[in-house]
Amino acid sequence: MTVIKSRRLREFIRYAVPLVIIPSLVLAGAFVFDRKRHILVSLAVALFSLLLFAAGFERRSTGTRRLVIVSVMTALAFSGRFIPFLKPVSAITIITALYLGGEAGFLVGALTAILANFYFGQGPWTAFQMLAWGLIGFTAGLLAPVLKKSRINLIIYGFISGIAYSFIMDIWTVLSYNDGKFGLKLYLAALTTAIPYTISYAVSNVIFLWFLADPFGRKLKRIVKKYNI
């Protein structure tokens, strides 16, 4: 893995990429480019999340190890998408972010979206899914000290992130129905019709976090400590 040496550059990338560059890229992809070039937008988002990931560590040896752990977690989240109705992707992204940092969480979320969509169908929504899962992971990384403190906090975060996922994806719903124009009324309507899905996202986050957070947390913590990642 490439290592970014300058500390100030790292700090800049850490906040500018997930909060400014990638969201504007995704929105620009939906507004400006035509629909057929969506795969390019998704790949660009993947590249930027890799850059963000690279800003998350200082030593090269850590980088390669982290990269492999990220692909292990991505594979786990990806195989979890085959479970009907319940999706463990957010939960696994959050758990990764808690122990490996928000940058790794963002990468797991984004890569799972693009990878799983090779099976479930790529489209302009891929970029939105990447953004949504990525941000869920990134925020979990920022809130890690609070979330690690008690299980209740983690469950609440999981519930809220399920709702947030639906909120972000409904921006895409509105844009696709309305030919790339955004309307607040339509957005509210989309949010109301999506309530069953929103609930299923939130509930599956709660369930998976309840069952996976502790055992997985222990495993990741052990790996992080044992191999000094």
Partner: protein
Amino acid sequence: MVRFHELNPAVIALWFFTVTGTAMFCSYPVICFLTLTAGVLLFLVRNGRNHLRTHLFFLILYVILTLANPLVSHNGKTVLFVMNDNPVTLEALLYGLNSATMLTGVLYMFRSFTQIMTSEKLLYITSLLSPKISLVLSMAVRYVPLFNRQGQKVSDTQKAMGLYADDNIIDDITGRMRIFSSVSTWALENGIVTADSMAARGFGTGRRTSLKRFSFTLTDTAFLIITVILASTVIVAAAQGSLEFDFYPEMSGIHPDHTGKAGLAAFLLLVLMPVFKETEALIKWKYSESKI
């Protein structure tokens, strides 16, 4: 003499994607027919008379796909007969025939594609875009079957130890959780081992190279240029609407204008390029053999 499958992977992939893409997006009967013919020819040239079961499978699929449409769709003017109070129309039958031709043709093409494009070549193509993303993605893809295999091993071991699940649901679930937990610990540890092994072999110290070298020769360039020229002729014809065909409610005949004719001729050449390439090489080989 370079055969088709020995060309640069990027060139091969471009050819496959333009042909199958054109066939899928422009379901003009002639184009579908040409795709199927060329797909079968390419497969035969490459494999000879083996793979009888593949052909049988595709034949059955073809018949099923053809017959499925008139049973489901009842659009069209010409009623052939009435079954269970539902009209079966000629248009729907021919529409089914057309889409079956298209699908079987594309499937034949993909059969050859998977034979030609080994995983190494696919990795080469994705690494042209971004080596790191392609590495992480291909590792994640490889992990899924690996986890399944390891899970099977753990499960077998547990069975041998007498920890097998009974009919009891709770027992079954706890057993599976135990397996999942052990597999994920193993996966993380194994990942670290992989990472260390990668680091030891110099991962990240320089530019990534491919195990096999894929050079871009003059033949590749020529093949690429011809592909692009022919494909753009077809695309122009399709974009101008010269290659449109309506099945419902009444079939429009096949009367292409000049652009359409040019597009069809270009597609004929495009679709047969690999067959030419393979047979040319075979003939040259035979000829040089007979000289010896």
